[in-house]
C-alpha cells in the first residue's frame, strides 16, 4: 500500500508532506491532481496538504472540497482507508463532510505562525499510536483560520469517544488559554473521525519531522500512518 498526496491549485505544503511521507515509508507518495477522479490503485493513505487551496477564497477549503478528486477520497474513507488532513487539509476534510465541526478565523483575526505545545489526547488511532498518551510535543502552526468550533453536543461526543487527537497545551501538558493560538473550542488542535481512520489537524507535523530543523516531534505521525497503511495491505 502506498500514499497519495492530493494537490489543489494553491496547495503549498504538498512537497513538504511528500518529503515527510517518503522518509517514513521509504517510497515517494503519488501526487494526485485535483481534477483526477480516481486514486492510484493500492493507495492506503491519502494526505491532504496545507496551503491555500483555491486561494482560500469564499471559505477555506470550500472550493477544494468540491473538486473532482474528493469523491474518490470520500469513497476511500468510507472503505476505511486512511486520510490525513493537515491545516488547509483539515479545512478541506471538514468542508467535504469527512470530519465534523468548523474551522473559523483565529480569535486574534491575525495569521499565526509559531511553535505550539500540544498534548496527545488519544493514542488510539493509526496516526497517534506511536506517541505516549498525554505526551507533550511541539509542532509549528501557520494559519489564519484555525479556530475549531463545535457545539456542546459535538464536543461532548468527541470527548466521550476519545476523538480529540491533540489539544494546545503548555510544555507541562497543562491546557491553558495562553497555550491556545487561535481560540479553538477546548483548545482542540486535531480531531479523528468516528472510525478513527481520518485525522484532521491544524499543526504541521511535516515541518518538524527532521532533527536538522530543530525537532522531530512530527515524524511519529507519518511513521505510525505508514505502518498502518502497510498493515491494511
Amino acid at each position: 500500500m502506498s500514499a497519495a498526496v492530493v494537490v489543489f491549485p494553491g496547495s503549498n505544503c504538498d512537497r513538504d508532506l511528500a518529503v515527510a511521507l517518503e522518509a517514513a515509508m521509504g517510497r515517494a507518495p503519488a501526487m494526485v491532481w485535483h481534477k483526477d477522479t480516481a486514486l492510484p490503485a493500492g493507495t492506503g493513505l491519502v494526505a491532504i496538504p496545507g496551503g491555500f487551496s483555491f486561494g482560500d477564497y469564499l471559505r477555506c477549503g470550500a472550493i477544494a472540497a468540491r473538486a473532482p478528486i474528493m469523491r474518490a477520497v470520500a469513497e476511500h474513507a468510507a472503505r476505511g482507508g486512511l486520510v490525513l488532513g493537515i491545516c488547509n487539509g483539515w479545512q478541506v476534510l471538514i468542508e467535504a463532510g469527512l470530519l465534523p465541526g468548523a474551522l473559523m478565523r483565529n480569535a486574534s483575526l491575525k495569521f499565526v505562525c509559531r511553535l505550539v505545545g500540544l498534548r496527545v489526547e488519544s493514542t488510539d488511532s493509526p496516526f497517534t499510536a506511536r506517541y505516549g498518551r498525554g505526551a507533550s510535543i511541539a509542532l509549528p502552526v501557520a494559519h489564519h483560520d484555525g479556530a475549531f468550533v463545535a457545539d456542546p453536543d459535538l464536543l461532548q461526543r468527541l470527548d466521550g469517544e476519545g476523538r480529540i487527537a491533540f489539544r494546545y497545551a503548555e510544555a507541562t501538558g497543562e491546557i491553558t488559554p495562553a497555550a491556545n493560538p487561535n481560540g479553538s473550542t477546548a483548545n482542540i488542535a486535531g480531531v479523528l473521525s468516528e472510525n478513527r481512520r481520518v485525522l484532521g489537524m491544524m499543526p504541521h507535523p511535516e515541518r518538524r519531522a527532521d532533527p536538522a530543523l530543530g525537532g522531530n516531534d512530527g515524524a511519529a505521525i507519518f511513521q505510525a500512518a505508514a505502518a498502518a497503511a502497510l498493515e491494511a495491505a
Binding site: 491549485p9 494553491g10 503549498n12 505544503c13 512537497r15 513538504d16 518529503v19 515527510a20 496545507g50 496551503g51 491555500f52 483555491f54 486561494g55 482560500d56 477564497y57 491575525k110 495569521f111 499565526v112 505562525c113 509559531r114 509549528p140 501557520a142 489564519h144 504541521h204 511535516e206 515541518r207 519531522a209 527532521d210 536538522a212 530543523l213 530543530g214
Partner: protein, 737 residues
Amino acid sequence: MSHTAPPAEPEVTQALAAEHGLKPDEYQRLLDLLQRTPSFTELGIVSAMWNEHCSYKSSKIHLRTLPTEGPQVICGPGENAGIVDIGDGLAVVFKMESHNHPSYIEPYQGAATGVGGILRDVFTMGARPIAALNSLSFGAPEHLRTRSLVSGVVAGIGGYGNAFGVPTVGGEVRFHPAYNGNGLVNAFAAGLVEHEAIFYSAASGVGMPVVYLGAKTGRDGVGGATMASAEFDDDTAAKRPTVQVGDPFTEKRLLEACLELMASGAVISIQDMGAAGLTCSAVEMGDKGDLGIALDLDAVPTRETAMSAYEMMLSESQERMLMVLRPDKEAEARAIFDKWDLDFAVVGQTIAEDRFRVRLGGVLKADLPLKALSGEAPLYDRPWTAPPAPTPLGPLPKIDPAEALLRLLAHPNHCARAWVWQQYDHTVMADTVAGPGSDAAVVRVHGTDKALAFTSDVNPRYCKADPATGGRQAVAEAFRNLSATGAQPLAVTDNLNFGNPERPEIMGQFVGCIEGIGEACRALDMPVVSGNVSLYNETDGRAILPTPTIAAVGLLKTLEARIPLAPSEGDTLVLLGATLGHLGQSALLGDLYGREEGAPPPVDLAEERRAGELVRALKAAGLITAAHDLSDGGLALAGAEMALAAGCGMTLDAREGMAALAWFFGEDQGRYLVATTEATREALLERARVAGVSARTVGAVGGATGGAMVRLGDTEVPLARLQEAHASGFARMMGDA
C-alpha cells in the same frame, strides 16, 4: 473580450506631457527623436520609460560606481534579479524592491503587491523562491497613521507571501518621525535555480511569437509608474489612482506554470510585467535582444471593456508575464497554462527593425524607435552638496545602565518583533533552520546539507549624520549578521530610499551613501548583484532619513557551520573587536532621549573583515558555542538578546577607565559577543591575538544568585522583567497588549 471604441484620445501638448511627468527639455528630447508630435499612446509609453522608476535617470551615473563582479557572480545588475553561484551546479537568485508609495496609500494591497512583484522577479529567472525578507520603516509610533500602516503592511506581506508559500524569514522594522508622511516597504526575495535552468529576458530570433501569460489586464494602477516617482503633496488623497489588488493564488499558479513551461523547453526568454507592465517588459526584451517588437493589443486578455491602447500599455495589473516562445512548442506551452487555468495569448512578435509598434483595432497606436526608449532616456548628473556636520555630542545622560537597558528593550525600535513575524509563515517549505529572531535567517538548500543565510540592515540615523559612513556601516552590519551565524558572505542587493534628488542636499546623501556602500562591498568582497532605487520619498519638503537598505546573502557549506544565538548556562562571554565607547548617533541617545547628536561610529573595513573571518574560524575550530553581532544598543543590547534567547541570567563586567554608559551602550563597529567554555577560552583568546582582533573576557552566562538577573557592572535587572518588556513592547505600542 470585444473592444468597443474607447473615447477619443486627447491631443498631445507640452502641458499634457508635463502632466505625465516629462520636463520641458525631456519633452523636447522626445520631439527631436520622433521629428513629430507623439500620439497619446506614445506619450504614455515614453513617459513610463523615461520616468525615474524605469530609467534611473538621477541615480544611474552613481550606481555605475558600485562593484558588481566577483568569481561567485553569475549575473549582476540589469536583469530581473542577481544570480550568485553556491556550488554543486546551484545558484541563488535574489533582489529587493520598494513598494513605498503604494503601501502608504493602501497598506495591505501596496505591501502585498510589493511582495508579489519581487517574487515574480525571482521566478521569472527560473528560480523557485525559497525565502523572503521585508525591511519596514514607519513614522513615530504615536503618529496618527502609524499603527494602521503597521497593521495593514504586515497583514499584506503575510497575506501574499503566506498564500504563495514562501517563508518570510526576516527583516527589519523601525520607527522614526521622519517617516511620518512616507513609510518604506522594501521586499526581498531569494530563489534557487540550477545553472542550466536560468532564464533571461533578452529576446532572440526574428518572427518569434511574443506571448502574454497569467492574469487578465484591467485598468489597475494606470499611471502608477508615474506616481511612484512623484513627490506627495496634500492633494494625494484626491488624486488617488486605481490601486492594484494582488492575487497570491494566481501568482502561485503562475509560478508553477512558469516552472513547468521552462522545463518544457518552450521558453526563449521571459520577463515579468512590473511597473508600466506591457510597456517596460516588451521594450526590455527587445532592447536586450537587439530586436524590435510588434504588439497586437486585440489579443491581450482583458477583464474590462473598452480599454484603450494607452491603458493596456500602462496597466499595472499584477501576476502577468511576457515570453518569447519557441514556435514549435506552442501547443505544449498552451496546455500547461490551460492546466493551471491561466491566460496564454500570442500578442505579438519579434521584428528585425528597431521599432516598437503597437496596434489596436487595426489602428497603429504607437510606432517608436525601440532602443531609444531606454538608450535615449534622459540621464542626469544632479548637483549635490555635502551634508552639514552633525550637532556636537552633548554630555552623557544620567541613568543606570540596567535601567537604560530595560527601557531600550521595551522601546518600539528594540523590542521583540514577534508581533510582526508571527503573522508571516516562516516555516513553510520545511527548510527553515533559523527563522526570524536570529542575526541572519538560515534556510537549508532543499535536499542538501548546505544552507543560505539572509539579512537586511541599515542605520538611517548614521546615514543622515554622515552618508558615506552610514553606507559603509549598512554593508558592514549585514556582513556581521551573516558572519555571526557562521555564513560566508556572498553578495548583496540594495534598496536605496531617499527624498527628492532635485534637492542638492538629498542628492548629497545619495552620493555619499553610494560611495560608502561601494567601498564596503569592495573591501568585504560582497558585490552588488541587483538593487532598486526609490526617490522622492518626501512630503511637503520633509524628506525621510536616507535609507539605503542592504540585504545580504551568505553561504553555509554545512549545517554544522551554523552558529546559534543562544549560549548555555555557564558559558564565558568574550567580546571581539575594539571598544572606544562611541555614543554619537546611538540608540541610547536617539531612542531614549531624542538626541541625534555626534558623528556615527567610524567603520574600519579591514578590522571588520578580520573580525568576521575570525568568528567563522573560531566556529570551525570548535572554540565558540554561540555568537551575536553588536550593532545599535552596543554590548548591553547584544548581551541581553543572548540572555533572552538562552533564558539565562548574565553578568557583563564594567570596564575600568570607561564610563559605564559608553562601555555598555557605545556602538563601535566590527564587534561580536561570543560564548565559549572555560576550557576553550584561552585558545580562543590566542586565536584572536594571532588574527589581530582585540578580544577580552567580559562576563558569563548565568552566574546570578536568586532569580536570573542580568547584571551590567554594578547595576542589575531581573531577566523576567527584561523578558516582559521585550516580549510585550510591540503589542503595547500597537494597543493590543
